[in-house]
Subunit: 329 residues, 2 copies
DNA sequence: CTGAAAGCGCTTACAG
DNA sequence: CTGAAAGCGCTTACAG
């Protein structure tokens, strides 16, 4: 910028004004400055700009997910990016892998780099450590799960309701032995909520619960379900409470040749679910809506909107495709 | 930091030294400084630090993909993140949607925010605009596709070889009418390379090419293939040159009830491909290897490694699962 | 080993 | 409308 000022024969302040599109600068000067900028290939250093600016805004936000490669989270990521783009913000993305320590490290890295706000899919830890950041003016919205020990905006799926609906659906086809397979409830809020929904619905119908030990990832799910299917307590239907678990279940049922005799409803949609034999019925999550609304609320906060925290719940409709409509054997 | 210095009763310089772990500071002072830091909940502003530092390093990198939500790119993203994490770097991620203008805007946003380097899956545009940034010291590595009009490290899949192998595989089962369905070759380098591989192999066997008009996304692919299957020129085998196209093909074949009579080999693996009926044969891409190696080369460059640009090609093995081994009708 | 001072690239009152 | 000067939060020679 110094160089631009020298070439254009004006002061630093004038260059700054031109670069920032200030209204009150003589056209002739602006012209000269712009020529110099083009000539030198000058690009403003936004981080330096931010340091001195009154609002200290960096035009960046942070997005903390369980795993950027999980299709649910990557769809959410994309919709956050789209909103951020309309606001001229760039997004840092990171994966916590459900590790509270890693989450905290990532958040601190983000804050140290001056992000204007963060969207967090929180792990199970205590989020009190964020109070300091919030007081320091970092906007924050929680997505997919609510935080613990801090009051902040959140936007989550209807986990309990969706899970209960899945069970109701199976019961209405006559199932009574419905197994639950899901992620670790003590670690993952959504897993706990979906388990709760399952329990509620089972109890309402006076049915005995059949909850498998928690699994993480498709391979563990596949193995656990393979065990279940060879055991004495074989269910007539499965409710799989996460996308990767559903994938494991599809594989296990196929391995055992039982995909047409044991019913399956998954939570969260899966690519090609409708091309499987039978097509897989799911309780669908709207990842794009979660991401979009989280980003919109975040930017409203960044803009200084000051109203009570809001807690949005996004519906989770059931999509019947075939696997969930198999009657009990 | 000023406040910390005041509370600890030392100079700013000393606080800075303690924060940066400089070796030559008296333990007693360091102690006092650390106490003050804890007491005040002080966190260093990395962006200000970067501004003054000799190396001007921000400990951030940028990652530019076609779409962060495409499973191939999100897997690549994750492996980049993992390498970046070991180096204490945060990663900005963005989607170009194959739009050269958008790519350029994103790159300029990244550079303006002082990233130490960028990993780019380039669009079809001219990348000469990056010369300025490279000369300014921004490290850059191209992934999935090489750049145009700039010499830089690149790491890509064996697209042509993999495509040729897919065709060879089908030919060896007796197929002669093999259709190609892929993305827009004039826009997407990988699409062009895979088309070239298809053409090469078809010519080598003296077979007539059957290239469908380019498609983008699963829905377009599904429609185009549905048309093909009802036409007079019905092929006995399909080679689908991208993951989303393969998904469209699976759906179209299933719609027509032809999934057991028309062979299918896809480029790039797809979730649940092995659970479909029949399981889908693919030429597999190693997205994790692409991302990891791109990140490793990038950090070597950031570390100042100065050797000729390298161009890595990652193998694309064929995985036979069933759909690619269906004989011609 | 420690501090006072200069300065990174910008923006912003303050004069004029 | 424009410029000289101060300062954002930090690091880094330079003295001592």
């Amino acid at each position: 910028m110094k160089e631009v000022a020298a070439v254009a024969g004006v002061s630093l302040a004038t260059v700054s004004r031109v670069v920032n599109g200030a209204p009150d600068v003589a056209p002739a000067l602006a012209e000269r400055v712009n020529d110099a900028i083009r000539m030198l290939g000058y690009r403003r250093d936004l981080t330096a700009s931010m340091l001195r600016r009154a609002d200290r805004a960096s035009a960046t936000i942070g997005l903390l997910l369980e795993d950027v490669a999980n299709p649910f989270f990557s769809a959410l990521h994309r919709s956050v990016e789209d909103v951020a783009r309309t606001r001229g913000h760039l997004v840092f993305a990171g994966s916590s892998d459900e590790d509270p320590r890693r989450e905290r490290e990532l958040v601190e890295s983000l804050v140290a780099r001056g992000v204007d706000g963060v969207i967090i899919a929180p792990t199970s830890g205590d989020h009190g450590y964020l109070l300091r950041d919030r007081d320091a003016g970092v906007a924050m919205v929680f997505v997919d799960r609510p935080p613990r020990y801090i009051d902040a905006d959140s936007i989550v799926s209807d986990n309990q309701g969706g899970a209960a609906r899945a069970v109701e659906h199976l019961v209405s086809s006559g199932h009574r032995r419905i197994a639950f397979v899901g992620d670790r409830p003590e670690l993952v809020y959504t897993a706990a909520e979906r388990l709760r929904g399952y329990r509620r619905a089972m109890q309402e119908h006076g049915l005995e619960e059949l909850v498998l030990p928690p699994v993480a990832g498709p391979e563990q799910a596949r193995a656990a379900i393979a065990d279940l299917l060879t055991g004495a307590e074989k269910p007539t239907a499965l409710f799989t409470a996460q996308n990767l678990v559903t994938i494991g279940a599809v594989l296990a049922l196929r391995d055992a040749g039982l995909q047409h005799s044991i019913a399956l409803v998954g939570f969260d949609d899966v690519t090609l679910a409708d091309a499987l034999e039978p097509p897989v019925s799911v309780v669908a999550q709207d990842a794009a809506a979660l991401g979009r609304q989280a980003a919109e609320i975040l930017f409203a906060r960044i803009d200084g909107e000051d109203r009570p925290t809001q807690h949005v719940v996004v519906p989770t409709p059931l999509i019947a495709r075939g696997s969930g409509e198999i009657p009990p054997g």
